[in-house]
Structure formats: structure tokens, C-alpha cells
């Protein structure tokens, strides 16, 4: 709550700043507002749909079952699931750390957890949608095609360095 309030405050300061420029350089204020309006429109066109999908994913993907399937003998299935939950879950990366830590404690492989964190960070579904809208599908698809093998390599390297399990 505190953080949100602070952000609103920053927003209001920025708006005041935009207004304060007007007497000196009216064309700059007009330009800022015009650009902001365009971006706002583009965002509002896609945001409600993304948020609804996010909520649905969060509700329909059973996390408890998933927690049990990331262990040592989980094989490709476990890795696939690590990818999927990372991709589908909601929230910034620092929300994932406690989850990842508890998964490790419950016996998940370092490899799977590294992949879980990488996919949580870099291939989130809402992000992919926004990216396609703003940067085009070629950019998005190529980035995903490169990020997925990178995540697997990062996982493999980390398991080599740290060992199968982290204390």
C-alpha cells in the first residue's frame, strides 16, 4: 500500500511538472500529452485481456501438485513443469525467490529451480503479449527461441557449479 501511494505521489508530481512547463514551452507540454495519450490508448487496449488471463492462470493451475513434481527423478516432465509454472505465475521475480527456495528445500533439483526462475523472469505470458503488441512478433518469437535454450544452459551450468541440491 505504502509503495503504491508513493507511486501515485510521483505520478502527481510528474503531472504538475508537465503543467508547469506549459507557460514557457506550450508545444512541449502538448507533445508530452499527445505521446502519453497514444501509449495509454495502446496499453488500455490490451491490459484488461492480459489481466483476465493472468487471473485465470493463477486460479486454474494447481500449485500444490506442481510442487511435488520438480524433484530429482522428475526428468523432462519436471523441467517442463518448471518452465510452465514460471511462465504462468503472476508477480515480479522477487515474489518467486521464496517459492523457489521452498521448492529447493522440498527436494527440487537446482536445474529445475534455475529454469523456473529464468522462465518466471523472462518468458511470462503477459509480457509476451505486451511485447508482441509493442515490438512485433518477430522480435518476441526470436527472443523466446533464444531465451529457452539459454535458460536450460544456465540451469545445467548452475547444477555443475552448485551441485544437485543446494544446502
Amino acid at each position: 500500500m505504502n509503495k503504491t501511494l508513493r507511486q501515485w505521489f510521483i505520478f502527481i508530481v510528474l503531472v504538475i511538472l508537465v503543467c508547469a512547463i506549459y507557460p514557457f514551452q506550450p508545444e512541449k507540454t502538448v507533445s508530452i500529452l499527445k505521446i502519453s495519450k497514444n501509449y495509454l490508448q495502446e496499453m488500455l487496449g490490451i491490459l484488461p485481456a492480459v489481466l483476465i488471463l493472468l487471473g485465470l492462470l493463477d486460479v486454474w493451475i494447481p500449485k500444490k501438485i506442481v510442487e511435488r513434481t520438480l524433484g530429482e527423478n522428475s526428468g523432462i516432465l519436471g523441467t517442463g513443469i518448471a518452465f510452465l509454472i514460471g511462465t504462468a505465475a503472476a508477480g515480479p521475480l522477487y515474489v518467486a525467490f521464496p517459492i523457489a527456495a521452498s521448492l529447493l528445500k522440498k527436494g527440487a533439483r537446482v536445474f529445475n529451480i534455475a529454469i523456473f526462475l529464468c522462465s518466471w523472469a523472462a518468458i511470462k505470458i503477459p509480457m509476451i503479449m505486451f511485447e508482441t503488441e509493442f515490438l512485433g512478433w518477430q522480435f518476441t518469437v526470436l527472443r523466446l527461441l533464444l531465451t529457452i535454450p539459454s535458460a536450460i544452459l544456465i540451469g545445467l551450468i548452475m547444477e555443475k557449479i552448485i551441485g544437485f541440491k543446494e544446502a
Binding site: 501515485w8 488471463l53 534455475a114
Partner: protein
């Protein structure tokens, strides 16, 4: 349009979800609403910042520092900025798009986005505390390295 297709899919899935489980669907909508409220101020801030950026920072400056011809130095600069900044997923793409429009190179933008999401300098202390020092440092180092690699290839392929 892409946003239209996504909206259509979202409404379709929402109806299926509502038909099969009212309660779960309500929770899903609540999560959506909560996320929207949390996100709103930051989205508005970024939108105004983009307005400022595109109005006051001349395109040729951005183009010179992280533009097509800035080479590896430009990629490194954007990767470092991306590693330091902490920005929600939702706003990375619009911000990157505005930089591209101002003349930034694809390679630099790919490095910026990838490090932005995968490397967290600000969250590193927290990651070390929860995941262990070794795990956190190696994950960030490797992510930074691979981000540069991803950017290089994207720059070469997309031009």
C-alpha cells in the same frame, strides 16, 4: 490486430471458466482487479516518462549512444542499465518500443530487455538471502552473459 485477438481469447476463456466454476472465476477476476490497481500508478508514471523522453531527449543522442552503429559498447551500456533498473514486466515493452522509435538499435534493445527481466541488482541481496549467496550470484552472472549472447544474435538476425 493482436490486442483484439487476445481480448477475444480472454473473454472466451473467461466464459468457459465461469461456466465450469463460478467461485474460481470470481477469484480470478479479483486477482485481475488487484493487479490492475497495483499496476496503475506505475503504468501512468512510465507513460508520462515516455512522453518526456520522446519530447526532450533528441533522437540523435539515443541513436549515438545505443543506436545501430554504437556497436558492442552500446550493447554493453544497455545491458548495464537493464541490470540496474527494476521495472515491472508490463512496461518493459512499451519503454523499449519508445527507445527503438528514437533510433536505438535492435541489439541494444534486446540486451536491455533481457537484462531488465533476468538480472536484478536491486533484488540481489534478497535473492542471496533466500536462495543462497552462490546460487544468486551465479544466476545473475550467467543471465548477464547469456543476455549479451541473445542480444548479439537478435541484432544480427533482425537488423
Amino acid at each position: 490486430m493482436f490486442s483484439f485477438a487476445i481480448s477475444f481469447i480472454a473473454i472466451f476463456l473467461l466464459i468457459i471458466s465461469a461456466v465450469s466454476d463460478r467461485k474460481k472465476t470470481m477469484i480470478a477476476l479479483k486477482i485481475a482487479g488487484k493487479t490492475a490497481l497495483n499496476l496503475m500508478p506505475f503504468l501512468l508514471i512510465i507513460i508520462i516518462v515516455i512522453g518526456f523522453l520522446l519530447t526532450f531527449v533528441p533522437g540523435h543522442l539515443i541513436a549515438r549512444v545505443i543506436g545501430k552503429n554504437s556497436g558492442f559498447a552500446g550493447v554493453l551500456v544497455s545491458a548495464l542499465i537493464g541490470s540496474i533498473l527494476l521495472i515491472p514486466h508490463f512496461v518493459t515493452a512499451p519503454l523499449a518500443a519508445s527507445l527503438l522509435r528514437q533510433g536505438a538499435g535492435i541489439m541494444a534493445i534486446a540486451a536491455f530487455i533481457t537484462t531488465l527481466v533476468m538480472v536484478g541488482t536491486v533484488t540481489l541481496p534478497m535473492e542471496m538471502k533466500t536462495m543462497g549467496r552462490k546460487f544468486a550470484i551465479w544466476r545473475n552472472l550467467l543471465s548477464f552473459g547469456f543476455a549479451l549472447f541473445i542480444a548479439l544474435i537478435m541484432g544480427l538476425v533482425l537488423k
